[in-house]
Symmetry: C3
Subunit: 189 residues, 3 copies
Amino acid sequence: MIDTYRARSEAAREMDYLPGNVKKKEKAEMSEERAVQQVLARYVRGVDARDGAAVAAVFTEDGRVEISYNNSGKSEPLGELVGRETIAAAVSQMMKPHSARGWSHHTTHDHIIDVNGDDATLDSQFVVFEVRGKERPTAGWPDGASGAQGTVQPIEAGYYRPILRRVDGVWKITTLRITHSLPMAFPGQ
Amino acid sequence: MIDTYRARSEAAREMDYLPGNVKKKEKAEMSEERAVQQVLARYVRGVDARDGAAVAAVFTEDGRVEISYNNSGKSEPLGELVGRETIAAAVSQMMKPHSARGWSHHTTHDHIIDVNGDDATLDSQFVVFEVRGKERPTAGWPDGASGAQGTVQPIEAGYYRPILRRVDGVWKITTLRITHSLPMAFPGQ
Amino acid sequence: MIDTYRARSEAAREMDYLPGNVKKKEKAEMSEERAVQQVLARYVRGVDARDGAAVAAVFTEDGRVEISYNNSGKSEPLGELVGRETIAAAVSQMMKPHSARGWSHHTTHDHIIDVNGDDATLDSQFVVFEVRGKERPTAGWPDGASGAQGTVQPIEAGYYRPILRRVDGVWKITTLRITHSLPMAFPGQ
């Protein structure tokens, strides 16, 4: 799905720069704040697809993720991922894979963005929903079944506070600070 | 509620174009991306109000809705609505009406918008919350009752991916692709 | 956390206005619509921190909050807060404090914004999530525990419809109309 979006988007962009394209002049520049916000939108798309490469692509080469838990005002560090490769591996290999008919929706809210030249900060809330679909019986859904078959459950919440830098005209995350509002257990720790 | 909003909004707009209105010059153009995003905001307001006419109004005359379920990466078509009238009828007549003291909130998140002249695409996540209020006992709420009385339950999630066209300066949806993250049961199917 | 954000943000702003700052020219003006939306983002940050002063700061001196419940289309008034001091006191003293390892996330969605000179209206949905973290056992999380330890529960939903005015270049809320989609019980009433 992510790839489909990209393909379409690249194509649109390319078209825009074809010589003599009459639409070129009409294409207004997107505001820097929206461009910054869309970096986070691509981050959550990649995380939900468990696509490590897509997530790593929104970071600078030396990008990092700093994860902590806000324990009633006291910050407790949970972990750190340094460098694109480590970030990609964590998403593809360390995140729990989706169960059959499962999906997740990492959603972000109430962005506060501050752009200053080639530097920017973003402060947003996040809520993660876990989706588990029921299996359709071979005889079809039972009589009276209507609407969505399965559950949508909020399981995590907190704040994403990325710091970004514009490199060759493209906003990238240099450091993503993730503050969880819930404590986290890691197997084997 | 939708109507109240509209009335206020029309009035504001009209005021803006009164001859000699000193505020006219101060009214900056809204960015195309925000205008596109607000089309989706009006769509969900209409859906939550089960107001078929309000929903149809955000589509072009030949607008369509394509609904599918993403079954672990495999897209399964669920249905299609073609034309404003069909869309209006589906919202007003086919969607489950709210129960007494019931409401819904269709919410959208993490928009990725690409505007190209008079064409645009939007990619967003959605989560639907079902709200069911308790009935206030004739003797009033019981001792100790405090805060919201009822439940807010996420019941659906997925992606809205509308394609839009600007017609006479107004963005309209030509095709709304809805991808559910949960399977759907339709009575009688 | 709010304070940290602010400190950083003020510093960034100050830097921007230092004489001879090469970045000054690059700092584009944020759109009025985004500035309006960020007022609401600061409001919810303040509410979640139960920080009455931070919440009062987004209102004009004579700002007010009008709270009602939408009972299946019939609006029932729930209360009114008039003036910054009353608003600050309500947030700091009347809102339920967070439990140990508890937090809340007031989130807002699908903003419809209308800016007209120094006046603006915003119409958004809101969902409130209550977060309750588990206490980590002294012997550590039990075998098999993995991921977030605790619950994220949507408990309230409705509409925020603030009216704003720009005073000395800063958007402030003059009236915040809160419409709950659930009835509310107040102890002792």
